[in-house]
């Protein structure tokens, strides 16, 4: 028995050095940094979420919703490791820098109505129903969510915490995870990088967000409650028709069995106005951009080689849900800065899951509900979105 114990002791001693030294993580979420893309929320990229009125928090309807993005492919941690930092390459800074939110009054939490005609930036102006127009610096946040494996699904394992726009100037940016205390242990599993911003929150207008009136030939999608106008000439940017500065008349109505198409004239008080949110592939460029993959499948190929912009690894998942009825994305599942006051970043592990403060679930949120039972897209499905290359180490 003594010999047996001696063997055991020797074997355990042999194994000790390997356990004593923690394995340092080093993962990256893209193959190259050849391109650049938006560093922020789905509204920033294209305000096409168009949630039904029954799906949204009324206080947030029609304004920057601050949904955030699970960016790039999930990466697989094959061996438990410790991470302390995230590094990425900022391509262009946030030129909005601030957004304007009404505090107090009947429109608390909504965007100010006065926007710079030259920059599109929200400025302290009037607030519907009273209240005080308050300017907030734009914030960003990056985190790691477990998407499967031995880690806890949906748990936020690491986060930078709220980052002021001014911290994210062009160039390579290395940031410590908040409260890392020497490193955060990542169990074996798959992880997704989440990023959020309130860059276009409230009254910030997207680039080319200027509209002229009157306008006609409007298509209206009407489900119930307030109407949202989805006009092609306005780049499919939803207009909250409940806005008292808009008026409309309906000249004809048709239906495809799923939704109504109303044709008529819509007009807005005054000669020029700004739409809320941003325009796909345009407004996002005024918020923060960072480098990663881009240029579509196979673009930039050099002979039989791979140059660098193929987006081969790309997926990008907006935290919104696909409506099975009309194939439009509707519900907002998780929100960044839901109170529009920079008090909450990414949903943290201290919150219950689904997080109660930074998210709301209207019942169709893929990542909040379905993915918990194992449904999470791991590969591209018909698209090759731009994506940011994060180095996690």
């Amino acid at each position: 028995m003594r010999k047996l114990l001696a063997v055991l002791v020797l074997l355990m001693a042999w194994d000790l050095p390997a356990r004593a030294q923690s394995l340092q993580c080093f993962y990256q979420t893209a193959a190259t940094n050849f391109s650049n893309s938006y560093f922020g929320n789905d509204v920033t990229h294209g305000n096409t979420g168009l949630p039904r009125s029954t799906e949204v928090n009324a206080a947030l309807a029609g304004f920057g919703r601050n949904g955030f993005i699970l960016d790039g492919p999930v990466f697989y941690v094959g061996t438990e490791c410790t991470t302390s930092h995230v590094t990425f390459d900022v391509y262009s800074a946030d030129t909005y820098s601030q957004h304007c939110i009404c505090t107090g009054g009947s429109a608390a939490g909504q965007g100010c109505t006065t926007i710079s005609a030259t920059t599109g930036q929200g400025i302290a102006g009037s607030c519907p129903g009273g209240g005080t127009a308050t300017l907030y610096n734009n914030k960003y946040d990056v985190g790691l969510y477990c998407m499967g494996g031995n880690c806890i699904f949906g748990k936020l394992y690491a986060s930078t915490g709220l980052l002021d726009y001014s911290e994210l100037q062009p160039g390579i940016r290395t940031l410590p995870w908040a409260s890392a205390h020497g490193g955060i242990l990542l169990p074996v599993g798959t992880y997704a990088v989440a990023m959020g911003t309130n860059c276009d929150s409230g009254s910030v207008a997207g680039q080319t967000g200027q509209v002229t009136v009157p306008h006609s030939g409007t298509t209206v999608e009407w489900y119930s409650g307030p109407l949202f106008v989805n006009d092609g000439s306005w780049n499919n940017t939803p207009i909250y028709i409940g806005d008292p500065t808009f008026s409309h008349t309906i000249s004809s109505v048709s239906s495809d069995g799923k939704s109504l198409t109303l044709t008529g004239v819509i007009s807005k008080t005054g000669a020029v106005g700004y739409v809320q949110g941003a325009i796909s592939a345009k407004g996002d460029k005024r918020c923060l951009q960072a480098r990663g993959e881009g240029n579509g499948y196979g673009a930039g190929g050099k002979g039989s080689g791979w140059v660098g912009g193929t987006q081969l690894f790309a997926t990008k998942d907006f935290v919104t849900a696909l409506d099975p009825v009309n194939s439009k994305f509707h519900a907002d599942c998780l929100l960044f800065d839901p109170y529009h006051d920079n008090s909450i970043g990414l949903p943290g592990e201290s919150l219950s899951f689904p997080p109660t403060l930074a998210a709301y679930d209207s019942g169709g949120c893929t990542y909040v509900n379905n993915a918990r039972t194992g449904i999470a897209p791991l590969t591209p499905f018909g698209q090759a979105p731009h994506m940011i290359d994060f180095a996690i180490w």
Binding site: M1, L4, L5, V7, L8, L11, P17, A18, R19, A20, Q21, S22, L23, Q24, F26, Y27, Q28, A31, T32, N33, F34, Y76, V77, G78, T79, C81, S84, H85, T87, D89, I172, T174, R291, G300, K302, G305, W306, V307, G308, D389, A391, W393
Partner: protein, 217 residues
């Protein structure tokens, strides 16, 4: 046989089983153990140029234990296919649990350009002197040459300035400085001067050295 002995025997069986399981360690995969995947950039490797005195080391992260047989790479449009100068690779522990930093876990025999780069625009490979089982961690893949900058030295296709992230990219500094690494017929000598661990990642060829599109297999 008392309970303790039974427990000890059970533990021994488990450990033995684990040891046997390690013998089934998978081959290293090129999809995960690569430097650069891009081939838009290139770098001529020579002694005395950006590679210091013929040695440059590229950080590489291995996520799980695997067995490696060698390294594969793609030659550039200009190559040294002569027998005048030597080239070689080595794999070195940098931050690997259970492996002392600086330990050379795999190396190729120094070969001449005729073997290292027999033709241009060609994918080729060199085997390690013996296969190596490498655990998870950060490694340095070192490339060495005796080819002087005054000669036609071999170039390799690889990364572009905006390429991949690397744990580090570090050239040897010759006979002075912090990284006095050498390479010759006897292989590499790192003189116990290796890159610091846990350094911020670097972005591909922005370091001035385009990492080659090399993979471990």
């Amino acid at each position: 046989m008392n309970h303790f002995v039974k427990t000890a025997l059970a533990a021994l069986v488990l450990i033995t089983a684990a040891a046997f399981a390690q013998s089934g360690t998978p081959e290293c995969s090129g999809s995960t153990l690569h430097l650069s995947l891009a081939t838009a950039g290139s770098q001529i490797f020579s002694a005395g140029q950006t590679t210091g005195h013929g040695v440059v080391m590229f950080g590489l992260s291995n996520p799980a234990s695997c067995v490696t047989q060698g390294v594969a790479y793609i030659t550039w449009t200009k190559v040294d296919s002569s027998t005048s100068y030597l080239y070689g690779w080595a794999l070195v522990c940098i931050s690997v649990p259970g492996c002392t930093a600086g330990t050379e876990v795999a190396r190729t025999v120094p070969v001449t350009g005729a073997t290292f780069s027999p033709s241009a625009n060609h994918s080729t490979f060199l085997s390690w002197t013996s296969q190596a089982t490498i655990g998870p961690g950060i490694y340095g893949l070192a490339l060495g040459t005796t080819c002087p900058s005054t000669a036609t030295c071999t170039g390799l296709w690889g990364d572009v300035t905006t390429g991949s992230w690397y744990p580090f990219v570090q050239a040897g500094t010759g006979t002075t400085g912090s990284y006095q690494w050498t390479f010759g017929s006897g292989g590499f000598n790192f003189n116990s001067e290796l890159p610091l661990t846990n350094v911020p990642p670097v972005l591909g060829a922005s370091t001035g050295i385009a990492p080659p599109a090399a993979i471990l297999y």
